[in-house]
Symmetry: C2
């Protein structure tokens, strides 16, 4: 058994036997450090996000919707890896391209605007490996059913906001 498959089986066993261990809390904190530039901390890492000049930024870093697409494309690629291991399907390479269209009238509040987020998202996945197409198509359906960020994009979610300390 591969090291990755053994790790996944050990983690799966642990959270099956003790469901309380399955719940993971994640947090990110960000602060404006320029007109539109945000310095964000997540785990041990610091990331910078900015906007293009047309929205008053300095175009110094990816914008928030681009960061969301990075989350989606990486989550798809990793979920292919994990589920291929779980199912014993060989994958040599996985490349994922994610495209989203947004209408900035939503952000800017222009009358008649579309929603502020993406109006649509499409994902192209290029797999190389020895299995036949049907096997990879079945894998694709399994991945889309279990990919965490795919779920964040595709399905509704309750997000609560509150002001603190004002």
């Amino acid at each position: 058994m591969s090291t990755l498959k053994a790790t996944l089986e050990a983690t799966t066993d642990a959270v099956t036997l003790n469901p309380g261990r399955a719940s993971v809390k994640l947090e990110a904190d960000g602060a404006l450090v320029g007109p539109c530039e945000v310095r964000a901390r997540v785990g041990d890492w610091t990331l910078v996000v900015d906007e293009p000049e047309a929205l008053g930024g300095a175009d110094a870093a990816p914008n928030p919707l681009q960061m969301a697409l990075v989350a989606l494309c990486s989550c798809q690629a990793i979920t292919y890896r994990l589920w291929a291991e779980k199912k014993g399907i060989t994958l040599d390479d996985v490349e994922v391209s994610v495209r989203g269209t947004t209408d900035i009238r939503g952000l800017l509040g222009v009358s008649g605007a579309a929603r502020p987020g993406f109006t649509g998202v499409s994902i192209d996945v290029r797999i190389s490996g020895p299995e036949d197409r049907d096997t990879y198509e079945e894998l694709r359906r399994t991945v889309d059913a279990h990919c965490p960020v795919f779920d964040v994009f595709a399905a509704p979610l309750t997000v609560t906001t509150r002001l603190r300390g004002t």
Copy 2:
């Protein structure tokens, strides 16, 4: 008028007069470069995403759900800036903390699991500035209605996937 406000008004005028200019296509591409490590390209930038060891990664970078939270917290902070400028509301500092809980049984396909993404997300915003609380509460409602990544998280969206070249 501030430079930022003038930029926003110019962009708003441009997309109001010519709605075709409002549509923006964004793309991110990622490839597996390790067991779970993904190298992603977006715009002019390269970002790395990984998983913790319990999922077979090397914990070398944020995981995809953490990247999604960075997208959300930065989008909130920037949308506060933009709408404060538009409304003439003074903001001195904005800090945003985003917390999400996920149940990894969803990703791993454990029977009885929750959904694979977040089971809930909460956002705390700390604003400092001279306006009263009601003014900032009204700003919060406006931000949540126009924040692009808030919309990606909160509302359903059609995401299509296809395999290419297999």
